[in-house]
């Protein structure tokens, strides 16, 4: 069953085209990740689906219903985890979840049960009577999620839910996403963390400058760049490395330096390793380690857009 269907979605802010004729479909049970750098248009798409922004052109259907004509039905079946932590510091964790759940028309015993279950789900049941001002960033993010899932939505939209938190809380959130998915929820997940996308997604859409430039599962996307390999050369002193000289070597597509690691995006079919190593040897740059990796989504993004995800 199709949960989300977007056709020709366009959104302009003045002269800026934030979302440019995007079409995509999401099937039930998928974890669909929208991957793209800041300002790519991910949040604008999410805000349109959530009903926070009007589109200029196009059509969006959620659970087979038009989001404008059937906004009440759509909103009832959708949970939104906003990018910014949107909770009340002066309400307890329990009161926060309970308040947002009442807005979905849930009352009485069912309200209490669902509130408690949502807090249990995100691991905050022992903090239910505490105020969020005493919480860590990760705990606030988890409460942010609890407020969006207590009413048991069929579609959950998570807009960069792991920004600015510690690895432990990030893992907890990613695990929650998998658990929600197993419980039957379809999830739209936006992020600019490539490793998160690799870890949880069943389908990925790559967005850049408001356009959906590629879509598919991890393997399908990596297949776009099967002709490439990434060579990582660790040196003692990267300041001596002349990127332009390296780029002149036949088969080298791009070179970036990150600390003491020189990353070379290289064409697979051209045998040029000897020339690369000679460059370092002849320029008296001692090499500590050489490593070659298969392409990841970062490489895919770099290939498709010419820039890194976090540029």
């Amino acid at each position: 069953m199709q949960i989300v269907k977007i056709q020709g979605l366009t959104k302009k802010f003045g002269d800026l085209i934030a979302v440019d004729n995007v079409s995509l479909e999401i099937e039930q049970g998928e974890i669909y990740s929208l991957l793209g750098p800041n300002g790519a248009g991910k949040s604008t798409i999410i805000n349109i689906i959530s009903g926070l922004l009007k589109m200029n052109k196009g059509e969006v259907e959620i659970l087979g219903k038009n989001i404008i004509k059937h906004s009440n039905y759509v909103k009832k079946n959708m949970g939104i985890v906003p990018q910014d932590i949107a909770i009340y510091e002066d309400l307890t964790a329990y009161e926060n979840v309970k308040f947002f759940t009442t807005l979905y028309g849930i009352k009485g015993e069912e309200l209490k049960r669902k509130t408690t279950e949502a807090l249990e789900f995100v691991g905050l049941n022992d903090k239910s009577d505490k105020f969020p001002k005493s919480f860590s960033g990760g705990m606030k993010r988890r409460l942010n999620i609890a407020c969006a899932i207590a009413h048991r939505p069929k579609l959950i939209i998570m807009d960069e839910p792991t920004v600015g938190i510690d690895p432990q809380s990030r893992n907890h959130i990613l695990e929650s996403v998998r658990k929600l998915n197993k419980l039957g929820c379809t999830i739209i997940y936006t992020t600019h963390y490539m490793e998160e996308v690799e870890a949880i997604s069943t389908k990925i859409g790559i967005i850049d400058h408001g356009k959906l430039i590629a879509e598919g599962n991890k393997e399908e996307l990596k297949a776009i760049v099967t002709d490439r390999q990434a060579i990582y050369i660790t040196v003692n002193d990267s300041e001596k490395v002349n990127i332009n000289e390296l780029k002149k070597i036949n088969g080298v597509v791009d070179v970036t330096v990150d600390g003491n690691v020189v990353e070379i995006d290289n064409k697979k079919e051209i045998n040029n390793w000897d020339k690369i190593i000679t460059y370092f040897y002849s320029n008296s740059i001692p090499v500590k380690n050489i490593e070659s990796k298969v392409p990841n989504l970062e490489t895919v993004f770099l290939t498709l857009t010419g820039r890194k995800l976090r540029d």
Partner: protein, 375 residues
Amino acid sequence: MISIIIKEIKHNFRDKRAITLMIAFPLLLMVILGVVFNGQFASNGIDFSGAKVIYSAKEDGNLHKGFKEFAHELEEMNIIFEQIENEDDAIKKIQDDLYTCYISLDENSKELNIYKNNKRNTTASFIEGMLATFVQRYNLVSQIIEVNPNSIDEIMNKDIKNDYVKIVSIDEKKQARAIDYYGITMLTLIIMYSVNAGIFSIQGEQTIKTGDRIIGTPINKYKVFLGKVLGAFAVTAIQISIVILFSTKILGVNWGNDIVTILIIIITQIIMCISIGVGIGFLVSSQEVGNGVISAIIPLLVFLGGGYYPLERIGSDLLFKISIISPIRWINDSIFNVIYLNDYKYVSSTVVFNIVISFVFLLLANMKYRRREEI
């Protein structure tokens, strides 16, 4: 909608700053100003002694005779009556602030007109109230005499003065002390700051991003709007009730005998302030901007309304004319007149004005709300 109202109440009662501002602050001000200005009020209260009234009577007759008796009774309260021939001169003397009011009697038409000196509004209103009682009594006596002329002696032997006093209740206990004056003006002052509650109810959600989250739920956006307005109203009403209760029971502030009318005036003031706040909340870009505007305007309106010191005692004609723009003045005047003069003539206009202003700002807020982009 109930859950939104409850949430607003929880927010406000857990905010120590708001509680201090809305409850402790006015009570503290009542005590401080009540003590500091005690001498100025306690010695003469709303003291009518020494007030000078001029009057003219076109012909001598029963009305003039009755009026002289009335004047004589008031002279016992040290209110001085002087007769004058020329009406233009009389009005000029009022304009020059030499007399509190001018009363003209017309024996032929049985008409009695009063010209009040606005700078001495309270005293003039007191005399007006007394005069109204006199007129009522005069009309009654005239009608009785028409039916039964023999009853005149019996009627005239009644204690007229006592009747006047009973109706306007100008006994010692009802004279406004400093604590009574500031008990009311500090309350109406602090209600003005409930504009902040209105601004917060709208801008606060945007600042902490919960507003978007609420819009993402299926709740009707007008229920959200109404819930926020009612929530802010409920919060202020509870806070103000505590202040009134405390000021009455502990500080002994005089709220008069007709608390219902006083409450109606106060409630409409709260509605007006919340509505202004909600309107500003939609019109300005951030809570800080809204609060800045309010912090600049409210003290001025309160000053013009006699909130810090009775304006008529400052004696500036210009200031008195300008003060008409302050809703605090209408509200304070209405309340004082009800408590001390049994005079209700400002009540309806004040209530209507408060409601009209509320309506205008809610309409503005609603227009801005409708134009928001969200679906």
